[in-house]
């Protein structure tokens, strides 16, 4: 029975990562690219409003009252 290319790759990784479960998982992730998406522009807009605009308004009001 021939060995699938990714299995051979995993075997060679064995000495590098030193953990069979981790090696399998990393290889799987590299192959599938199973990442959740990055934050979108809309998400960043929410961060800017929550962490910059709202705080500045709070600080200005705190200064004036």
């Amino acid at each position: 029975m021939s060995t699938a290319p990714h299995v051979t790759e995993n075997a060679s990784l064995s000495s590098k990562l030193g953990d069979a479960v981790l090696e399998e998982r990393v290889a799987q992730l590299e192959k599938s690219g199973e990442w959740p998406p990055d934050l979108t522009k809309g998400d960043w807009a929410l961060v800017v409003v929550s962490c910059l605009v709202v705080p500045i308004i709070c600080l200005i009001i705190a200064w004036t009252i």
């Binding site: 590098k16 705080p55 500045i56």
Partner: protein, 482 residues
């Protein structure tokens, strides 16, 4: 397939998911079992710990109630923003914990050194929270007339009660992330109800005018310095979430799904709950919770507040244990040879020793622990943000997080990136030039620029320059792929 086989398959899958969540392995998207709502509850439950009492009490020294509440909110949310850009995009995307996420900039061996930055503050806080929780339980029992103890005995029996409760919490945490999720959701609901009761009692007894008119306890002569000190205290509190964030957001399906939990749970909950402590400290003219709890509301109030303390600390200690157990798994010999339950017992052992034998001495060090717990994280967040977004353009190697071979992407020099360590030291130096974290004595332009923001900027700029001048020309750090 028979029902029995299907059950066996599901059980095996659950075990694999548990193993991934409790290890430092990257958690796959399908294994992340905390949804956005659950994460808000978990993060809020973590935030609503007893540590918020000293925060509100400290702010009461500088500002009256209404400006103080606004400054706490503003400072906390600015700090949460700085924390967020240095942690969530990379940790929630790749499903890695706080320690592992430092490998691209500290180096794959350097990342292991950051275990200290995770474990030490969490263990210290667990000891403090266990002591407070145990003493609160003994006080509740004494107040209800169940036991009769002298003040001196409350400490001793409180420490013993705390240790026993720590063991009980340990049993919950052994159940893994899903048991933790169910526990924290219940605790978050209880916390919300109790905080509403406390605010209700404050308004009924004192009213907004009396709360608003209460003078700060020991303000500085400079108005601007008072305000900046409060903002700085809150930014420091936000940065001190660094050890926790990775251990939590890696169990949430995506960076986007993490946002509400981070912004509302770790961010907004802190000033909201701290406001109860701030207002109470102001009207009681004393920042000590054990004093204002009784002064403000008498026995019934004290009882409610003590129950809140116990509830809050159970939730916080459980999450602390889980996160420190995950961090310890970064050490391969622990991950491979030590079972999850024993890992947590090892995490608990030094805490129990401190609580049982050095409880009083340790409690006296609380202000120093608070002061230093946020000092190192602002530089790390600055370095992480500039490394991930600017220098690597979000292009990191998942293999590199774990690969310790000489030709590994993040091997740098013997596994350590000296540029990152030097940049972090520059950041800490800038902080210390602007503010003494122990005495809160400010220097130079602190009152205009604070300490955390320049620290964040200085460390990230130093890292950028060092990487461009040293690391990239030397062909280290895998920057050529970006």
């Amino acid at each position: 397939m028979t029902t029995e086989n299907r059950e066996r398959g599901t059980h095996a899958q659950n075990l694999a998911v548990n193993e991934a969540q409790q290890s430092t392995y990257p958690v796959l998207r399908r294994e992340r079992t905390w949804g956005p709502i659950a994460f808000i509850a978990i993060a809020s439950s973590l935030s609503a710990g007893t540590w918020l009492f000293p925060v509100g009490g400290a702010v009461a020294a500088y500002t009256p109630a209404w400006p103080g509440t606004l400054l706490m909110t503003g400072g906390m949310m600015i700090g949460t923003g700085l924390l967020l850009i240095g942690t969530v995009p990379i940790q929630a995307k790749f499903g890695v914990d706080s320690v592992t996420s430092t490998a691209p900039y500290l180096g794959v061996v350097g990342a292991k050194l950051s275990i200290v930055l995770v474990w030490l503050p969490i263990a210290a806080w667990n000891a403090i929270l266990t002591i407070i929780m145990g003493r609160s339980v003994v006080r509740i029992l004494a107040r209800l007339g169940v036991v009769s103890l002298a003040d001196a005995d409350i400490s001793k029996w409180g420490n013993i009660a705390g240790s026993l409760m720590l063991f009980g919490i340990l049993l919950f945490t052994i159940g893994g992330a899903d048991v933790l999720k169910r526990l924290e959701i219940v605790l978050a609901i209880i916390a919300l109800i109790i905080v509403l009761i406390i605010f209700g009692m404050l308004f009924v007894k004192f009213g907004p005018s009396q709360i608003g008119a209460a003078k700060p306890l020991s303000p500085l002569p400079d108005h601007q310095q008072n305000y900046t000190t409060v903002v700085e205290l809150m930014m420091g509190s936000a940065m001190s979430w660094w050890p926790w964030v990775g251990g939590l957001v890696r169990l949430v399906p995506s960076p986007r799904a993490s946002l509400p939990g981070v912004l509302l749970g770790l961010g907004l909950t802190v000033p909201v709950v701290s406001a109860a402590s701030l207002w109470s400290s102001l009207v009681a003219n004393d920042p000590d919770p054990s004093v204002w709890m009784i002064t403000v509301g008498g026995t019934s109030w004290g009882l409610v507040a003590l129950i809140l303390v116990v509830k809050a600390n159970i939730g916080t200690i459980a999450i602390n244990l889980f996160v420190s157990g995950v961090a310890a798994n970064r050490i391969p010999s622990i991950q491979k040879r030590v079972r999850w339950s024993w890992n947590l017992i090892i995490m608990c052992a030094p805490v129990t020793v401190v609580v049982l034998f050095f409880g009083d001495t340790f409690m006296e060090q609380t202000p120093k622990i608070m002061a230093f717990s946020g000092l190192f994280y602002a530089p790390l967040c600055g370095i992480a943000a500039i490394d991930y977004f600017v220098l690597r353009r979000k292009n990191v190697s998942i293999r590199g997080f774990y690969d310790e071979s000489r030709d590994a992407p993040y091997y740098y020099w013997r596994g350590i990136n000296p540029v990152a360590f030097l940049s972090a030291m520059i950041g800490v130096g800038v902080y210390l030039l602007l503010l003494d974290p122990l005495t809160l004595e400010a220097h130079g332009p602190f009152k205009w620029i604070s300490a955390t923001i320049p620290t964040f900027i200085a460390a990230s700029l130093a890292y950028y320059v060092g990487t461009k001048l040293v690391t990239i020309p030397a062909g280290r750090g895998d920057y050529e792929r970006s």
